[in-house]
Symmetry: C2
Subunit: 212 residues, 2 copies
């Protein structure tokens, strides 16, 4: 297991309905030392890829993206969620559905901050159905920028987001891929890391006990 899988096993909480709570270290309280390890690992996985900007989305992607950017030495832009439908011409816009909050948000990025010269690494905390990520990819595309890669902390491998993104040929690096969770037993099964870069599910996997 890598550092993030170990941390999920130690401090994550599995709830009914395939909910994985990681609010003690990832998306409410934030362990900055852990974020540094994540940044370092993405730097290693995207070695040799030219990146000049990181794009993330509010709110829980921001901290991870900022710490990760210290390993890439590039500015970070965060996409803003907006309820407003009056977006003037100065913004790229994508519509993003939230399964957690059962609502649609418009996601906006000022045209000042993304353009054809940009090679963008998208960073976010979770990938499940992939709606937020698809919105960010759409914005990168609207800008005429190059999508250099996608770094995700925790991917729910049993939901379709990651598979779709890999099928589309994007370079996606999820630091922990959860293939299944069992709330009653309090266990999480991770996809083995060697398979992370190909996206193929293999026979080798391990199950960790997580507080239920």
């Amino acid at each position: 297991m890598n550092f993030l899988e170990k941390r999920i096993q130690k401090d994550g909480i599995v709830k009914e309905g395939n909910v994985l709570k990681v609010d003690t270290f990832l998306n409410h309280q934030m362990d900055i030392g852990l974020f540094r390890q994540m940044g370092e690992e993405w730097k290693r996985r995207f070695e040799g890829t030219y990146i000049n900007k990181i794009l993330t989305i509010e709110a829980s992607g921001i901290g991870i993206a900022c710490i990760a950017s210290e390993y890439f030495d590039v500015p970070v832009v965060f996409a803003k969620k907006s309820k407003s439908i009056n977006i003037d011409g100065s913004m790229y816009m994508a519509e993003v559905e939230s399964f957690t909050h059962k609502c649609k948000n418009q996601v906006i990025v000022s045209k000042k901050f993304l353009g054809p010269d940009d090679h963008v690494l998208i960073i976010d905390d979770f990938l499940a159905n992939g709606c937020a990520l698809q919105g960010m990819i759409s914005i990168v595309s609207q800008a005429g920028a190059t999508l250099a890669g996608i770094g995700i902390a925790i991917e729910k491998g049993f939901q379709p987001g990651g598979r779709t993104i890999r099928n589309l040929g994007y370079h996606l690096e999820s630091l922990a891929i959860v293939d299944s969770m069992d709330a009653a037993a309090g266990t999480v099964t991770f996809r083995t890391q060697a398979e992370n870069t190909t996206g193929e599910a293999g026979a080798a996997a391990y199950t960790g006990h997580v507080r239920g």
Copy 2:
């Protein structure tokens, strides 16, 4: 002028209605090198103060707080904005009015992450009327925690938030205090830094030209 005042003078945009746009480096695109300077400066200004947690509020406080936390080596908790009125007993809650967005938000922090043993540094990007800050102070107080200090990037010194907080005796360190802005001339007048810690407006001030 310090590094942040210089940056505001160089890249800030003054708009009618006392609006100061700093989205190229602070709250949409984020200059992480600048955030490091801010963290270093807060570390200097809070030298000798015991701090074991940083509290901020989504969304634009998060990046600044995370980078600043590297100088304090403490975890960061961000208060979440919530429209929901069904807050169970596991959360501290404060009501926060937004002048920018003309709405009220509930702001919540899980009780797991703040308690009587915590010595909290609050970090945020802007202080104007101080509603978001008052909500965070209320949450620190509900938790029985100690408010060790408040670090703000840009304070609008002509609005009452900062004065109120200083009158209440809190240790507030704003890295740039804007005493006035002129949209027509495109100028910003900063309070001189020596006065930052006392909050007294003095005769000495300087005016910088900012793009209008």
